[in-house]
Amino acid sequence: MVFRRHRSPNLILAAVLLLPVLAASQERVTVAVASNFARTATEIAARFTARTGHQTHIIAASTGKLYAQIINGAPYDVLLAADAERPRLLEEAGLGVAGTRFAYAFGTLVLWSRDPAVATVGCREQLLHLGKKHLAIANPETAPYGVAAREFLLDAGLWEQVRPRLVLGENILQTLQFVASGNASLGLIAQSQTGIPALPSPTCEWVVPTRTYSPLEQQAILLQRAADKKAASAFLNYLRGPAGREQIAGHGYLLPD
């Protein structure tokens, strides 16, 4: 096979010469983000790029996985965690820059279903009569939303009753997938997920009272390798600034004071 050269050599030369100039003024920020916040972070990053010209690179995974990657030297500049514990551990280990840790959002739980059978009963009622139906929650051993789900169920006095019908998602994304695909009739998911466009329309949706579970505080931290990277600090400032806050609230999160 023969490749023909279409592009003008001058254009390529110009691009090659310009590249280092662009790179100096506009840096690339690698953002490691907890899966529940990935969609929000992608939108925030797009606006941030439009405003500042700094490119962003979003890496989404569970907080536990990102944490393990960071302590093993993963090249991330910023961590947007799903909890407060992992950023604190990173700060203590010297892998996060001291004093850069802040709460950027508080997650909220929603009981959700697409099961037609639940439509007349309502989500909350259905929880009392699961029968052979499954309730999907995130794994309390690995996911903050799972801890919150367990706290709510314990608070409601339903934990022992629903336990045999629980299915555990590896993270909140898989939990959503279990209930959105109809494999689980009910699911305790993040409110931020209810806005996902591809989601089938729910037959019921019930916002779990926030007093029934410990706050799902999500913290961000600047990582040590980006300590002197201006674009990374700029991204965190954008996140906690008015524009970032508006986008976070728009995705179903509560804001820190």
């Binding site: 393990a68 051993e141 367990r150 695909s181 494999n183």
Partner: protein, 224 residues
Amino acid sequence: MFETTSMGPLLLSIRLATTTTLVLLIIATPLAWWLAHTTSRWKPGIQATVALPIVLPPTVIGFYLLIVLGPYGTIGRWWVEVTGDALTFSFTGLVIASCIYSLPFAVQPLQVAFQSLDRRDVEAARTLGASPLDAFFSVAAPLSAHGFLNAIVLSFAHTLGEFGVVLMVGGNIPGETRVISIAIYDHVESLDYAAAHQMSALLLAFAFVVLLSMFVINRRLSRR
């Protein structure tokens, strides 16, 4: 809160692998026999289908199973109507998934063994008045012993090491679908490395013993 001992998930994995292996022997034996002797023009197509799980990532198999076995899927809906319970997130669902996932590991060793049989041995039994089934069990099967051994050990071991498919259709239910690979993954995720080490070592030792026994028995068989 959940079961934290190492033995529970390991025993569940062994139960899953044993059940899968038994079911696979029933399915794979006639299939391998047919593949070994047929001249049908469908043979390459069937062979390719059987070998698919070797090539496909577990996520593809898991994704399709989640859809087909789920309450809105063809098989899943029928299952719910008959039994009242969902097929996904159940031990039965895992057995079905594992049988598909490990099918080539049962069929291929058997097919190779059947192909290397001397047809005259089987034909001699037939001329002496044995029924086809009788001839198979008294002549062909014993002569293919190492093929059966390989099929059993490989299906068992492959199911024991299953992770991706179970992660997608299992739902992580203790005693039902939380097999040892999932339990180890959870411990690593929650930074409980001590428990992860304990379970991994247990699985490592067990897998080594299983494979070692296979090679020891195989050597004895080939010396005979």
